[in-house]
């Protein structure tokens, strides 16, 4: 128990110290995507629903938050909230439709609806089309912390991440989380016990969309812009990859997965040029064929085996 607490403390300490030796913008980017993947994992790993359209929420929040900060001049906190809320609303709309189907159909429906959202962003005037919404001011936190300083912003982003991470952890280990687990295990049985399964799935979907939105809005704040790539289906695919690579249904899997992918993308950009999609694709294939448990899952399994052996031997 306390060992777990210790581990969390160590991680937090690492998070606090990270910008001193790693390029802070990169760490912020990783944090945003980690949050995104964690939110996604809440749906895939703990509810068993594979959404292939999560970029829609990420992108929506980015655009709305960006618009709120730039055009309406809202304070930073409110801008982020506005974006997050918009993603939640969209999540509710998409979710109500998508949960009518399950399994692969669910994946296809979310993908298709997200594509529709993408087209809307492409055509709408407030998004700046292909050019994107650029030059959003970061503003100040609570009116006095200047967020244009990368380090200040870093701790703000870290705080957001820790809060959201805690919320996800809480959700998984809550009465609600128990019901989600039951639904994933045996849906007809859950219905016959009197649970309105659709409502639970919808709430899980909305939660996941909202947090994905928070990630999108935060990312927008870090980079000061929102563009179509934030809502493109490639991103939806990437977040699936991050989650699976790290280990779906594990608390830390998405964090690890997103760190690896973001770092890889950053590094590969110079070295392999156009082969970067091929490499991403290969990682996908290898994960599915050989490491379905993901990095964290495999490590945990290995640990179990070692500990088990020691206990036995």
């Amino acid at each position: 128990m306390s060992r777990k607490a210790l581990a969390y403390a160590a991680l937090l300490a690492f998070g606090l110290a990270a910008p001193l030796f790693i390029y802070p913008v990169l760490v912020m980017k990783i944090l945003c995507f980690a949050l995104f993947a964690c939110a996604f994992n809440l749906l895939l790993g703990y509810t068993g629903l594979l959404s292939f359209g999560h970029a829609a929420f990420f992108g929506t929040a980015a655009y709305v938050a960006g618009h709120a900060l730039k055009e309406w001049g809202l304070p930073t906190e409110l801008g982020l909230l506005a974006g997050t809320a918009a993603a939640g609303l969209l999540g509710w709309a998409v979710g109500s439709l998508a949960i009518r189907r399950t399994g692969i159909y669910f994946a296809m429906v979310t993908l298709a609806l997200a594509q529709m959202v993408y087209f809307i962003f492409l055509q709408a005037s407030f998004t700046g089309g292909e050019d994107g919404l650029q030059g959003v001011p970061r503003g100040t936190l609570l009116g006095f912390v200047d967020l244009s300083d990368d380090l200040n912003l870093y701790y703000f982003v870290l705080a957001i991440f820790v809060f959201a991470f805690w919320l996800i952890y809480r959700t998984i280990h809550s009465p609600f989380g128990q019901i989600l687990k039951a639904i994933r295990e045996n849906e007809p049985r859950a219905i016959s016990l009197g649970y309105d399964v659709a409502k639970y799935k919808l709430l899980a979907f909305v939660l996941s969309a909202t947090l994905a939105g928070l990630a999108g809005a935060t990312k927008m704040l870090v980079f000061k812009f929102a563009t179509l790539t934030d809502a493109h289906w490639h991103l939806s695919g990437e977040v699936v990859l991050m989650t699976i690579l790290g280990g779906m249904g594990t608390v830390f899997g998405p964090v690890v997965g997103s760190s690896v992918i973001v770092t890889l993308q950053n590094e590969l950009a110079d070295k392999v040029g156009s082969l970067v999609t091929v490499i991403m694709g290969c990682i996908f294939v290898i994960c599915v064929l050989a490491f379905r448990r993901g990095i964290v899952g495999e490590v945990a399994a290995l640990y179990q085996r070692v500990v088990g052996k020691r206990a036995r031997g």
Binding site: F176, Q178, K181
Partner: protein
């Protein structure tokens, strides 16, 4: 007195593309009894069950439960009213522990099932009741086992415990002893009898031993309508029932 009957159907009809699977069944289930529904294959028993639990929508007719018309209710709503069915295939949450299985059912009444911000430790207070229920079906020793590891008969028991957790007034059992060995059949029979003490049970069953052993009233369906109704002694002597269903081999 209306309260005598917990469940009444009036002229219930279900057609599948012109084929009448259930054709005007009026069924009255007395409160506190064990009521068996038997009949030849394809008579419409399962279909009847599906109508009662809203897995199918009746073509015509009404269903009244406790005097209330529930013909248009949704499946989950039916469960909340206190009508719970068991499945022919075993229905447990395979990777949850036996105790968690029961707790899922208990949790609903707590009313915090949507509270995603609460810790699941708030569920601990249900453990006591869960153990009581498990004890009732003889599973207390297995509480921490994962359900998937239970032997078949025990899974059935767990399923019944889970169902009991909902404190159903009316339990619908579809062939509860199908595919069970003799010992298990006896165990489940005793179990049904035990839990029937405080509630009503409506079951479909082909095993005459069970039907003869525990049911108070038997309704025989044939070709979608009621052929006969009454206690076992009466039914088993009914010539039409013998011809259509029981055949010459008798259970003594």
């Amino acid at each position: 007195m209306i309260d005598d009957y917990i469940l009444e159907t009036d002229n219930l009809v279900k057609e599948f593309k012109g084929f009448v699977a259930v054709g005007g069944v009026s069924l009255k289930v007395r409160r506190g009894s064990i009521h068996a529904l038997i009949g030849p294959n394809g008579a419409g028993k399962t279909t009847c069950f599906n109508l009662l639990t809203k897995f199918l929508v009746p073509t015509r007719g009404t269903i009244r439960y406790q005097g209330i018309d529930i013909t248009r209710d949704q499946p989950a709503q039916i469960a909340r009213r206190g009508i719970v069915r068991s499945f022919q295939i075993s229905a447990v949450f395979p990777h949850l522990t036996v105790q968690e299985n029961v707790r899922i059912a208990l949790q609903r009444k707590l009313g915090n099932s949507f509270h995603f911000w609460r810790s699941d430790r708030t569920l601990a207070r249900l453990d006591g009741r869960a153990h009581e229920l498990l004890a009732e079906v003889g599973l207390e020793a297995y509480a921490q086992m994962v359900a998937v590891e239970l032997p078949y008969g025990r899974k059935r028991a767990l399923e019944i415990a889970t169902t009991l957790a909902l404190e159903p007034e009316l339990m619908l059992l579809d062939e509860p002893t199908q595919g069970m060995g003799h010992e298990d059949v006896d165990r489940v029979m005793q179990l049904i009898k035990k839990v029937a003490a405080k509630r009503t049970i409506l079951m479909v069953e082909h095993n005459m031993k069970v039907v003869a052993g525990i049911s108070d009233t038997i309704t025989v369906l044939a070709r979608g309508s009621v052929l006969a109704e009454g206690p076992y002694a009466e039914i088993s002597a009914h010539p039409k029932v013998i011809e259509a269903y029981m055949g010459t081999e008798h259970v003594d």
